[in-house]
């Protein structure tokens, strides 16, 4: 009898999980998504010139982002601002993208000035996806450079493993460790904001980077332009390569993640403006096998004239879907992941790779040091977000690098390159 009951229970558990596993987002892909700026913070820096944050169609008409459906993730003013920022001239040295800033509003840091060498502490959301592995590697090497220069004496890194609670207590612990500056890469915006506010009250300067927090108490917030720009760049490219009325397959990792929703809403707006029919969007869960199956099924249903993706993780899976069906790969938007660049280079594809540069991990260290040295820093340090195109592909694609390497790392000139990024 008890055995019967156990079997019954197990059946329910299995069915629930088997079906649930298809529906629920897996943790890994959500972490695989490099994140964009929190709109609420970013919007404060420089208001968009033309389009006010209004839902009125008249106000929206003509804007590059017009046409996206209103959703809790969509902020048209921020979208317009990001799209304009792509062509804005950044200040700073042309050969060091990680030192550049777009439309910076400088803040005074004299009150934080102190003598070095410094103890730099870093609360990290996690090193749990390839993008973050490359970024953290960039960061460690920037620390080495600063150590050799006698600027940094100690670097404390605490990894929260992708857990909000762990990161909240990590930040509390770091506050007792006599850090000269605290760098925070928040795991999620909402959960970490109170912890960051508390850290600000402790009096040490805070550098926020990657994901935002909804408080302006950090001295600076370092991030690339953002998700709308990322999504739009890929969509504009595809739209320029296919005729109006063409069908473009949209592949997304999973729904409900703000940083990925921004990419998608900008792309959707552009496709709508250009009269392009969207196939999907389909969710890949970051799984290349599933991506491949989706492509194969859509190829049965009809022609795919282009592929837009919200992140590059499964772009090779998508390309293989076409290869295995003996169909020419259509114009495709991926990301600056080395395996995608290799496919692109080998197959002479029509492709583009918007980037969410890992070099921001370098910038975070540089900003921390600048603050302690009393140099002015931008209140919001908006880094450029370069695009890999067929014109500059040869510059960024390096066949000697591993498949999950992101070349927009600003690391090619650092001591230890390439060996330390090939391990």
């Amino acid at each position: 009898m008890s055995r019967r009951l156990a079997a019954l229970f197990a059946t329910f558990a299995i069915l629930a999980t088997a079906c649930g596993s298809a529906a629920s987002p897996t943790p890994a892909p959500s972490a695989a998504a490099p994140s964009a700026a929190a709109p609420s913070v970013a919007a404060s820096a420089s208001p968009a010139p033309s389009a006010a944050a209004s839902v009125e169609p008249s106000a929206a008409a003509g804007g590059a982002c017009a046409g996206a459906q209103a959703s809790e993730f969509y902020n048209q003013a921020e979208c317009e601002r990001q799209l304009a920022a792509r062509t804005a001239t950044a200040t700073g040295p042309a050969d060091s993208l990680w030192l550049q800033a777009i439309a910076p509003v400088m803040v005074d840091t004299a009150k934080f000035k102190k003598d070095g060498p410094y103890k730099v502490c870093f609360s990290n959301a996690g090193v749990n996806n390839p993008w973050r592995v490359v970024g953290y590697n960039d960061m460690v090497h920037e620390v080495d450079i600063q150590k050799k220069a006698g600027v940094i004496k100690e670097f404390v890194h605490v990894d929260a493993g992708g857990q909000d609670n762990k990161q909240i207590s990590d930040i509390q612990d770091l506050l007792t460790q006599k850090c000269d500056v605290l760098i925070v890469a928040p795991n999620t915006t909402a959960a970490l904001t109170p912890a960051v506010e508390k850290a600000c009250q402790a009096g040490i300067p805070i550098v926020d980077f990657d994901r935002g927090v909804t408080t302006d108490c950090p001295v600076t917030f370092v991030h690339p332009i953002g998700g709308y720009a990322f999504g739009a760049t890929g969509a504009e490219f595809i739209a320029s390569k296919v005729p109006s009325g063409a069908s473009v397959l949209a592949l997304r990792i999973l729904p409900g993640v703000d940083v990925l929703e921004t990419r998608w809403s900008a792309a959707k707006a552009i496709f709508a403006q250009k009269g392009i029919k969207i196939l999907g969007p389909e969710f890949t869960d970051g799984d290349p096998a599933k991506t491949k199956s989706i492509v194969a099924d859509y190829l049965q249903r009809g022609a795919i004239d282009g592929v837009w993706m919200d992140a590059g993780a499964t772009s090779v899976g998508a390309i293989e879907g076409f290869e295995d069906a003996n169909v020419a790969v259509p114009p495709i938007a991926g990301e600056d992941q080395n395996d995608f660049l290799k496919k692109w280079s080998d197959g002479k594809l029509t492709a583009i790779a918007p980037t969410y540069p890992t070099f921001q991990w370098r910038t975070a260290i540089i900003a921390a040091v600048d603050i302690l040295q009393g140099k002015q820093v931008p209140k919001e340090w908006v880094l450029p977000q370069p695009t890999v195109t067929s014109d500059n592909l040869a510059k960024y694609f390096n066949p000697a690098m591993p498949p999950l390497f992101y070349p927009m790392c600003g690391c090619q000139t650092m001591p230890g390159f390439p060996a330390d990024w090939q391990k």
């Binding site: 079997a7 069915l15 298809a22 996806n129 973050r132 970051g286 096998a289 199956s293 295995d324 395996d339």
Partner: protein, 339 residues
């Protein structure tokens, strides 16, 4: 894919042999053959919905997609029939996909040694699962759930969430490529051949050998089997080893089909068990069939494809899929009760 149905048909129609194992085989196949009907129906719908019609090439490409699950189901069945569960197989698949990339690092000369190493890993995991279940008296649900956590944690620790290296091209052939220039079907996927060979081996092992008969006996009534002279611990442990090895083969197929991914095998353990149950296996042991379990795996994949072709919104698809699975099992169990 459709080739499987005729292959299974003669077994259904086979005369009942005098041995108790043969009789049980007859009952299990006869009772659960309804999955074959469901599979044919789903495949027919897929063919009807497909704007290009029922293309043989497309059905064969579905086999590539379904092969890892089919192999996993064949292995899982041994454990289920023996009255246990193996939840560790999904994490083994992930370990194989990640391990084959990290250990070979794209160097084709390392493929064979790495495959050997991985097979050894599968055997060891199966042994540990089996010994902990039978000797330490921990329910297999817990042992293999713990093993799932240990292996996936180990993979995370090993790769820090970002697997390095790349899977060698010759390793990927098995899951991705096929025999070229075959008449009518153009390309015969190696994955189809693997399903046939592994399926046949599993069929013979479970339904045609003394060991297989003991697996049924142990799962049907462990006490009676022990009194009849079967070594319950050895039989169950061997079943776990079979499952472990099948997970390695499935992992190699998936590494070939999908390429490198650090969560490749996630959820596969439950899909494999679902496939077996769809194929008429009884949780608790004593009943199940290799042919119908593989058919169950193919059905799961075919249902997913059918929902793709139905243009259903993504959000609705998994719910519909769940409903279909429950309905299919209910139908099979109804058929079984009414004979």
């Amino acid at each position: 894919m459709s080739g499987l149905t005729p292959a299974a048909a003669p077994q259904v129609g086979q005369p009942v042999t005098a041995t108790s194992g043969g009789a049980r085989l007859w009952r299990s196949l006869g009772g659960s053959a309804s999955i074959l009907v469901i599979l044919v129906v789903v495949l027919a719908i897929v063919g009807l919905l497909n704007p290009r019609g029922p293309e043989p090439v497309y059905y064969l490409s579905l086999l590539k997609r379904a092969a890892p699950l089919a192999i996993l189901a064949a292995g899982q069945l041994f454990v289920l029939v023996a009255g246990e569960f193996d939840l560790s197989v999904g994490s083994i698949v992930t370990a194989v996909v990640v391990g084959s990339a990290v250990l070979t690092n794209g160097d084709e000369s390392r493929t064979l040694p790495v495959v050997g190493l991985l097979l050894a890993f599968g055997i060891v995991v199966g042994l540990v699962n089996g010994l902990l279940t039978t000797k330490a008296g921990v329910p297999s649900f817990i042992v293999t759930l713990g093993m799932l956590l240990i292996i996936s944690g180990g993979v995370l620790l090993w790769t820090a969430g970002a697997p390095r290296g790349s899977i060698t091209n010759n390793l990927r052939l098995l899951g991705r490529d096929g025999l070229k220039n075959v008449p009518v079907i153009d390309q015969l996927p190696y994955a189809a051949i693997v399903i046939l060979v592994v399926g046949l081996a599993a069929f013979v092992l479970l339904h045609r050998t003394n060991f297989g008969h003991r697996v049924f006996a142990v799962g049907g009534n462990a006490r009676a089997a022990a009194l009849a002279g079967a070594n319950v611990a050895v039989v169950k442990t061997a079943a776990f080893v079979v499952s472990g090895v099948s997970a390695i083969i499935a992992g190699i197929l998936l590494a070939g089909f999908g390429g490198l991914s650090n969560n490749a095998g996630e959820g596969y353990e439950f899909q494999a068990i679902s496939a077996c149950v769809l194929g008429g296996a009884v949780l608790g042991g004593g009943r199940g069939s290799v042919v119908t379990s593989i058919a169950g795996a193919l059905t799961l994949v075919a249902i997913f494809t059918m929902l793709n072709f139905l243009h259903l919104p993504v959000e609705v698809r998994s719910a519909v899929q769940g409903g279909i699975i429950i309905a299919a099992v209910a139908y099979a169990s109804y058929r079984q009760r009414t004979g």
